[in-house]
């Protein structure tokens, strides 16, 4: 007799759940959907350590030294390097490319009249078909917003999808001593 009572309780509970579920289904319906848009923008961040100028100092008789990633060292004893960085478009849409630094020249190097510049060029011919910044010229790095737009139309085709970015530092004789580091951000967008 006791068991019958249990079954009765369970039976009525199941009926209750069923009615509740039907109620939810009929009155709790929601209409619509959630839209998800993936922005066609990506930012890649590197430390300038990846472009490593190594150890060096300004000569005593010089007020500053110029070093860059195209192999120039003037007024200092750094070892020349030739390793600007290459940015590739490995996707399947054309891109606009921006370059931004984390610091300006004073924050990065300190001292009197420091300089912190970039230059960009096609690494593979015809990679950038509409440049927003002149190629093969040095410009001060921009550390606001997305930075400077380098290329408005970077191609994605085979053998025409890479640009090279070089860096130049003007290190004053009274620059901050010790290891210096900055973060460069390259942003790609497509419409």
């Amino acid at each position: 007799m006791g068991n019958i009572k249990y079954y009765t309780v369970v039976f009525f509970l199941l009926i209750f759940i069923l009615v509740f579920a039907i109620h939810l289904n009929s009155t709790g319906k929601v209409v619509g959907s959630v839209n998800v848009t993936i922005y066609t923008l990506a930012s890649l961040n590197f430390t300038i350590k990846s472009v490593d100028f190594g150890l060096g100092s300004v000569y005593r008789n010089s007020s500053s030294a110029v070093i860059d990633t195209t192999g120039n060292v003037v007024g200092g004893n750094w070892t020349p390097i030739n390793n600007g960085f290459i940015v590739e478009n490995i996707g399947n849409t054309n891109l606009s490319v921006f370059l931004k630094s984390g610091k300006n020249a004073v924050e990065f190097l300190g001292g009197t009249s420091p300089g912190y510049y970039y230059m960009f060029n096609n690494f593979e011919a015809n990679s950038c078909t509409e440049n927003a910044t002149a190629m093969n010229s040095w410009f001060a790095l921009n550390n606001s917003g997305l930075g400077d737009e380098l290329c408005e139309n970077m191609q994605y085709g085979q053998d025409e999808d890479s640009i090279r970015i070089d860096l130049r530092l003007i290190v004053p004789a009274d620059a901050i001593r010790g290891e210096r580091e900055d973060i460069l951000t390259v942003t790609g967008t497509s419409s």
Partner: protein, 144 residues
Amino acid sequence: MRARGSYLFILLGILLILAWILIFINFNVLEEKEYAVKFEVGGTPGFDLNSSALTFGRLPAGSSSTRSVLIQNDYDTRVFVSLFSSKSVSKMLVISENDFFLEPQESKAISFFVYASPNASLGEYNGQVKIRISRYGGLMDGKH
């Protein structure tokens, strides 16, 4: 006899609770969307701006990449949004915000951040991000 009845009662009670949870989960989850996640560690930096997947391109070790999505609630009610990343990418993928409510017509931009540590294994990483939309969230979204 009484003991057997008690066991039966407990068993039925458990079944009842399970049925209750299943019914709630079923009614709670409104939709799920899944997106492929792909990035490569090593070599020169590269962009891959695919608008139907979270492709981060190629990252040299020690660098990072960020992409964002906009999630808009076009339901006529408040919804709860949860994001899950698959195991293969979850260690390197950080999601800016998770487990939040969106009011009708409200939208929120969420950033996905991939960091390739200097000692990350070189190669290609593939995974998924799942976006689950539910009514109530919390215990009732079957996540916890």
